[in-house]
Amino acid sequence: MAQKKVIALTGNQAAAEAMRQINFDIAAVYPISPQTELMGFFAEYVANGEVDTEMIAVDGEHSAMAACIGAAAAGARVITASAGPGIAYMVENLYVASGMRLPIVLLDVNRALSAPLSIHCDHADSMLTRDSSWISLFSENAQEAYHNIIMATKISEKALFPIIVNYDGYIVSHSIEDVEILDDETVRNFVGPSDIHRIPYPLLDIKKPVTYGATAQPDYYTECKYQQHVDFLKVYDIVREVFDEFAEIADVKYDFIEEYKTDDAEYIGISMGSSFGTLKDVVDILREQGKKVGAIKIRLFRPFPVKEVAEALSKAKGVAVLDRADSFDGIGGPLFKDISTAVMMSQNRPFIHNFIYGLGGREVKEEDFLKAFDRLERLEKGIETRDRFVEYLQVRE
């Protein structure tokens, strides 16, 4: 078991600490609030010689992902980080990276997308990556962000798929909390050396010249994508394997989702990221009032844990899906569609309703989630009706 110590860190500091301990070979970087500070802390380690990382300042996030693709294809262990519009600017290359099955770690300090312009937190940027065949983990706080980055490095290399670790901009990235840090040696042993043969075709293996990014004519593209499809389904087991291995060194057992007081819960709220803490407190308040409520946090967002969510909702009467992003598609938020799909898998047919909250940094107060549970119960009991699956929680009428 590792030596551990508890220190006060912001999300960005905890992430930089994880990066230092893993000792990435390459970090491509371009400034964008609220991510800049993260790479600023890491740059101190580079400057003080505490890491061997080559830090490349590029001209925009599109170039940052391009630099990572080149370095990862060569066999290096690479990381980059961005937020909001930066993630949007990077999306073209996300598909290239996953198509080439390159292990790349991308930290997304979640931020709203323009317009209107907002530097504050919501999950719209991450929702742009849903279909890019990147593995995606959401962190509730700095502690989870720190653990997720360490696990993500290993998951990515085992699965040969790039991975995104999300944590909420400002609410987590810039807020101090107590974080339990593992010792350097434990982390480095856990992720293992970054020898170029971690990937099947490293460009630095000059005895075996290969071509990345070759063209696939119509007679091959489908087969290439099917192989990617089949391998992406294997990611579930790989993620669980790494979660188990991590439990041995850090005595914390992670799973695809986290359930809070759901055993006998009639009404369950589901959310991702930092708002889950407030959701748990709201469950406590309602439990004190004798209401049977619970909460579920989605930690592994892609590939989506359909079975686990169906199982967790198998006894619920009502489900409130709390989306920190809107799909503007006449149906509801992105998480709502994933949860509804999962529920189709289970015999139980709970009443599902979708609430959109926290856009552009709107602070989430307990009264907001109390209102959501109350509305859900009224809808489920037919006291109130709805003409849409989705409604906004925090709008000034």
Binding site: H174, T278, E366
Partner: protein, 199 residues
């Protein structure tokens, strides 16, 4: 509104202006508590990130894990690092308070004036002229370390040597910062000693 935090946590709300070190002080307070084995949280609420713009920070200290990420709605302690805010954003400052909320204010006004401006006739009120201390100790109106001393004295939540350790760590990044440590420690002492409880 009963919240789950009621039983186990102290909730503090800071009000200051950008560039005065309010966020740094709030973070240092939480860090000092964490060093002493408590669970701590400091969540700045970012506005325009410009010197002069109002800044609000929610700080929580508890002996249990802090779940919530919501801003502090019913503070037990309100700390005002910039007195001019009492005129410009008074409503935000007194939002969600009750008669038990303790106020710690950086000002050279007499207590009764502060009570009148804020409309808090009976609340426990601590006053310190942190700006004067900062100007005298290092010639700049950065009252945060003096305020920390005052908070330690007024609330006893965290003791001075934890804050000292935190200051030494926070100011160790560069030689320029290290040079500021002595004055900051002096400001901390003076804040601790010069804060007084208004009757």
């Amino acid at each position: 509104m009963t919240t789950a935090m009621d039983k186990s946590a102290i909730e503090i709300r800071w009000h200051g202006r950008g560039g005065q070190g309010t966020v740094t002080a709030a973070k240092m307070l939480a860090s000092a508590a964490i060093i002493k084995g408590k669970h701590g949280q400091a969540m700045p609420e970012f506005g325009l990130e410009r010197s002069g713009t109002p800044v609000k920070v929610s700080t929580r200290i508890s002996d249990q894990h802090i779940n919530t990420r919501a801003p502090v709605v019913n503070p037990q302690i309100v700390i005002i690092t910039d007195p001019s805010l009492m005129f410009t954003i008074k409503n935000q400052i007194v939002q969600g308070i009750d008669e038990n909320t303790v106020f710690i204010v950086n000002t050279n006004f007499p207590a009764d004036k502060v009570r009148k401006i804020l409309g808090i006739p009976n609340n426990e009120l601590w006053i310190v002229d942190a700006s004067k201390i900062a100007l005298e100790e290092f010639g700049r109106n950065i009252p945060n370390t003096a305020m920390l001393g005052a908070v330690a004295k007024a609330t006893g939540i965290v003791d001075l040597d934890a804050v000292r350790q935190e200051i030494e760590e926070a100011f160790s990044a560069s030689s320029k910062l290290r040079a500021l440590i002595p004055q900051n420690l002096k400001a901390l002492e003076r804040g601790y000693n010069e804060v007084y409880k208004a009757d």
